[in-house]
């Protein structure tokens, strides 16, 4: 049996976007169109602008969807911008988006992709 190894990915960042319940799909679609590989959504409750809108606060759902998207540094700005626009975050109460720097990440990386990258690294070195 061959020894198992982990391919660690660097230059990764986490985009977290909070939107109202039911709005996540659109934002995720935008993120994927901009090259994001996947997204995780979980449910939460939030408060903030809703309380300050008075009667119009009822239009904003307290139930939120929190979207986590891990992207490469190179994709970061593009995906961030697309998600911001898709979520219409320039409207009060629509949500919040932030980026966290990640030290490293790991997941399944197809064998042939690893080979190709190793070769190009060796050639450069």
């Amino acid at each position: 049996m061959s020894k198992r190894e982990i391919t660690v990915l660097t230059d990764v960042a986490l985009i977290t976007c909070v939107v109202q319940r039911g709005f996540a799909d659109e934002v995720i679609a935008a993120a994927r169109d901009a090259g994001a590989q996947g997204a995780t959504t979980y449910y939460a409750r939030g408060s903030g602008v809703r309380e300050r809108l008075g009667i119009f606060g009822v239009a904003i759902d307290v139930e939120k969807e929190v979207i986590n998207v891990v992207v490469s540094q190179d994709q970061l700005d593009r995906v961030f911008e697309r998600m911001y626009l898709a979520g219409k975050l320039d409207t009060p109460g629509m949500g919040f988006i932030h980026v966290t720097a990640l030290e490293k990440a790991a997941t399944y990386v197809p064998e042939e992709v690893k080979e190709k990258l190793h070769r190009s690294v060796r050639r450069r070195g």
Partner: protein, 591 residues
């Protein structure tokens, strides 16, 4: 001459201008009072520009309107197009009916939103707090009263009263009496049935009873009373209405409010973790009212004679002719009805929260807004019901028999041969049931729950199709029953007995799902349409009463879902059997 450029830099240069400001500039500085104590920060109210207001409100309103449009418009269009294309008759009062349908949509939008904002928070806090704070008898009492309250608030219940105006006292005196002067008592007895079901469902959660014996124990008196009513020719005319009541009760108010209380009780007693908690109450809540209404019929029969009722009806007729008081005319009747439906329930919930639980109401402003929406929505819905859905359903129902029989007012009827026309009428009823059930949002939710409960063995689409197929067959059978004027009991007794046999064979999970699916499928749009259609149909054919279609639509899905469940069980059993055999043969090979 190849300058190296980092792709990330290129990408950020190509994107929208990003302006950075420090968040420190935005967050408030904490103010200090004279003694040096920190004052809590109160954020200022936001003022919205019209554009922002539009962008905030647009999705909010859009989502809710589209939801109701989806459940109402296809059905209304189906009825109208069927009438135009197959029966070749124009829709009379098309303008009034369209207005009514729009009112139904608007009313449902407002009502559902009000329900979510105004009534659900009460239900949730009562559900979580009451079982922990109060003794079991108090909880049972609240559940019983809640059952009555939610029944009055159920939008579909108004359809019963609307249906009452289509019944004549001479043909079926007891039916007329129940739906007109006694309609309040009728709804009350339905409510008591729902309340008792809630109590029993709760006990079931606590003591982990199986649903099967409860079903048998309810079916015995239900079928027994049915046989008793059948023995009297006057009383037998009320059977259809009594059994339809079961389908009417379980709607968008009853199910979540009663369930939240039940689940709260289950959680408080530490029994809330079984995967099936939440099921069963709907089943009981659709069976108990049937018994309650039949008992009411027997009571009514023992106090009033048919002749007295007919006399009373004549007096009432005269009163209507003299136009009555302002509060007896539309739209005031509907407005008062809306208030009477919601306000007692709200007062009762408030009483429980304030006096029994001594809790304060959170977000009083939003809750009030929700309750106002509920009342306004109910009023608009009721108006739409009498001008739109009931009229349309009654009209189509009255015209469909033109396909196979002579109907007054339709030129050239019968339009088709008897057999072909009958098939067209059956197909019309079947597709009406199938389509309207698939469109019901509650069914989608049930499908998802069932798929997770059975680890994917029972697919969501399979359940939805099984239920819709059952409802379609039920409605078709109920419609054709009226053509030949067969007693409804001939259909109810064998189907319920068959359901009991299938129940005995099935496992607890499938029994819960199957019996609940019957209650889930009949929403506030389907019920009035089908009721009115049945009554219209009954008036144009020789049938004695137009009720009974909904009760057939309830038993249909129970049978189909139980059968599909049994088939799945059999398949799984065969698979396991095959695996075991394979294992045996492998062992033999090895030895």
């Amino acid at each position: 001459m190849s300058d190296k450029l980092r792709y990330g830099d290129f990408a950020s240069a190509m994107t929208i201008n990003q302006v950075s400001i420090s968040y420190n500039e935005l967050t408030p500085k904490i103010a200090v009072d004279a003694d040096g104590n920190e004052l809590p920060y109160v954020p200022p109210k936001l003022s919205l520009t019209p554009r922002d207001l539009f962008r905030v409100l647009e999705p909010y309103i859009n989502v809710r309107v589209v939801e109701q449009l989806r459940s109402v418009v296809p059905l209304a269009l189906y009825l109208a197009l069927f009438q135009l294309l197959i029966l070749r008759t124009g829709v009379t009062d098309a303008g009034l009916i369209s207005g009514g349908v729009i009112a139904v949509i608007l009313g449902l939008v407002l009502f559902m939103e009000g329900l979510k904002l105004g009534l659900m928070p009460f239900g949730e806090s009562i559900g979580t707090v009451l079982p922990a704070k109060a003794a079991l008898p108090v909880v049972m009492m609240v559940a019983l009263l809640l059952g009555v309250g939610v029944t009055f608030a159920e939008p579909a219940i108004g359809a019963l009263q609307a249906a009452g105006s289509m019944v004549t006292a001479e043909d079926a005196p007891y039916l007329w009496a129940l739906l007109n002067p006694w309609s309040g008592t009728l709804v009350l007895s339905v409510g008591v049935g729902v309340g008792l079901a809630a109590v029993l469902g709760m006990l079931r959660f606590i003591y982990n009873w199986s649903l099967k014996p409860l079903i048998y124990l309810t079916l015995v008196p239900a079928l027994g009373l049915l046989l008793y009513l059948l023995s009297d020719p006057e009383l037998s005319k009320t059977i259809g209405m009594a059994w339809d009541c079961g389908a009417v009760t379980t709607g968008p108010v009853t199910v979540p409010l009663v369930l939240s209380l039940g689940i709260g009780v289950a959680a408080a007693t530490g029994k809330g973790d079984t995967s099936l908690s939440g099921f069963g109450i709907v089943t009981l809540a659709s069976l108990f009212p049937i018994i309650a209404v039949m008992l009411l019929v027997i009571y009514l029969a023992s106090t009033v004679s048919p002749e007295q009722i007919i006399q009373q009806a004549a007096v009432a007729q005269a009163e209507i002719a003299s136009a009555g008081q302002w509060y007896q005319q539309t739209p005031w009747v509907e407005a008062i009805g809306g208030f009477r439906a919601i306000v007692p329930l709200v007062l009762f919930l408030l009483f429980v929260i304030k006096v029994v639980l001594r809790e304060s109401v959170h977000n009083a402003g939003i809750v009030t807004y929700g309750i106002v929406l509920c009342v306004v929505g109910m009023v608009i819905f009721n108006i739409g019901l009498s001008y739109g859905l009931s009229k349309l359903g009654g009209q189509s129902g009255g015209l469909v028999p033109a396909a196979f029989a002579t109907v007054h007012g339709v030129d050239g009827s019968p339009l088709y041969g008897f057999l072909l026309g009958l098939m067209i009428a059956g197909a019309f009823a079947w597709f009406l049931g199938y389509g309207s059930t698939l469109a019901e949002p509650a069914l989608n939710a049930l499908g998802i729950t069932v798929e997770t409960l059975t680890n994917g063995a029972f697919k969501k689409s399979l359940l939805m199709n099984a239920v819709a197929f059952g409802v379609g067959c039920g409605i078709a059978a109920g419609t054709l029953r009226m053509v030949f004027d067969l007693p409804l009991a001939w259909f109810l007794i064998p189907t319920y007995l068959l359901a009991a046999v299938l129940t005995a064979l099935s496992t607890e999970e499938f029994v819960n799902v199957a019996w609940d699916s019957a209650g889930v499928t009949t929403g506030p749009v389907t019920v009035p349409l089908v009721l009115a259609m049945g009554l219209g149909f009954g008036n144009s054919t020789a049938a004695t009463d137009g009720f009974g279609i909904l009760s057939m639509a309830s038993i249909g899905p129970i049978l189909t879902v139980l059968s599909v469940g049994l088939m799945i069980q059999l398949k799984l059993y065969r698979q396991r059997q095959a695996e075991v055999e394979e294992g045996h043969s492998n062992e033999k090979d090895r030895s």
